[in-house]
Subunit: 226 residues, 2 copies
């Protein structure tokens, strides 16, 4: 079975959007600074039908994430922003399942992107996305965002991997990805790719944190080798 | 002239101490989880006069930081905790300058650690620490902490390098390192060392953020190559 993963750009102080995030300003003030590394790479640009761009380790990461994804899940607000902003063909080129409370007929766009509106919650969206990803050749499901949607999947322990593109920025205020996520969550770093602009961190989500207590000073043979 | 650097363990959600940080509980509830990677490595243990421990990439990082440091600066509260907790010889083996409002005679410990109490503020402490580090063979000055002291040096743009040991943990509440730090600060990633327990990130501090605005969609030849 394919994996379920999310990939977000986050500032060093933990923000995935700046302050005053709202319709028309989804990334918040200054939030585009989080994505500058992305806007310049060839693969992202090609998916927006823009020529040119860098081919570097950042581009490799973007390419890999598109290639492994057989279906996407996103929140209603992200879709509402995208519907007016994405080009046609949209960048996904795969089935997209939109979490919403408002039923709506599916929308088929050019290039393989279809938007299906799911009113039955995240479990139903995930079942449908898994099926589509499997049919695409045992591919993975990407939770596109926004932060609320990723947190829902984190909280329900339905995410296998969290990819953070750690951007060397301090935003100061805005939307924090991990606010409200339980400290019991287990995260194991599995890969790091660094570039001059951003550090790509991959964490495997484990059911719960399994750290052992610190070795006591009087017990030097304690668990120092664990 | 030597560099001025700080090195802190930080959770993925930005905390360098857990909740209820106070005298007797300086790392806050759950805060020792941030330092477990450190407690197990040979170099840290040796500096606490404890035998054994891991020799791995984490140990290399600790060893490098001790080796390059010719003098330390710390806040009054960190010293107060350490004075009752550190072994003798203390782990520093170098001059330590303590920021305080209360004059006090210097304290010399075994192994080369001396504590000098500085009541004239961070500029005076830095001048004295720089002199000591230079006399130790053109070494660097390490700002030991706590978070308030590191922030003072960050805000005054007196820090050359920020080293973050990014720990795969969510703490949820506590003391955030970067709270209140200006979004204008410039951070350039210069090195990443990863291990199964922690990701060691080094940032060079630049006078101010120099990011350019995002390229517009209609201007594909814009600044995509910068």
């Amino acid at each position: 079975m394919g994996k379920v993963f999310a990939t977000l750009s986050m500032s060093l102080d933990g923000f995935v959007a700046g302050p005053d995030s709202r319709p028309g300003n989804p990334l918040g003030d200054g939030g585009t600074r989080l994505h500058e590394w992305l806007y310049g790479v060839e693969t992202w640009r090609a998916r927006q039908s823009i020529a040119g761009g860098r081919t570097n380790q950042d581009d490799d990461v973007v390419q890999e994430n598109f290639a492994r994804t057989g279906a996407y899940i996103m929140g209603r607000r992200m879709f509402a922003e995208g519907e007016v902003g994405w080009p046609d063909p949209p960048p996904f080129r795969a089935p997209v399942f939109v979490l919403t409370h408002t039923p709506r007929d599916p929308v088929a766009k050019q290039g393989g992107t279809t938007f299906t509106f799911v009113t039955e919650g995240i479990d139903s969206a995930l079942a449908q996305a898994r099926k589509a990803a499997e049919e695409a050749g045992d591919k993975d499901v990407q939770i596109s965002g926004g932060a609320d949607t990723v947190r829902q999947f984190l909280d329900a322990r339905l995410l296998d991997e969290l990819h953070i593109h750690l951007v060397p920025l301090v935003l100061g205020t805005g939307v924090r990805l991990l606010d409200g996520v339980s400290p019991d969550i287990g995260l194991a770093p599995t890969r790091v790719i660094d570039s001059p602009q951003v550090t790509h961190l991959t964490y495997r989500i484990t059911p719960s944190w399994t750290g052992a207590p610190r070795p006591r000073r009087n017990s030097p043979t304690g668990n120092a080798e664990r």
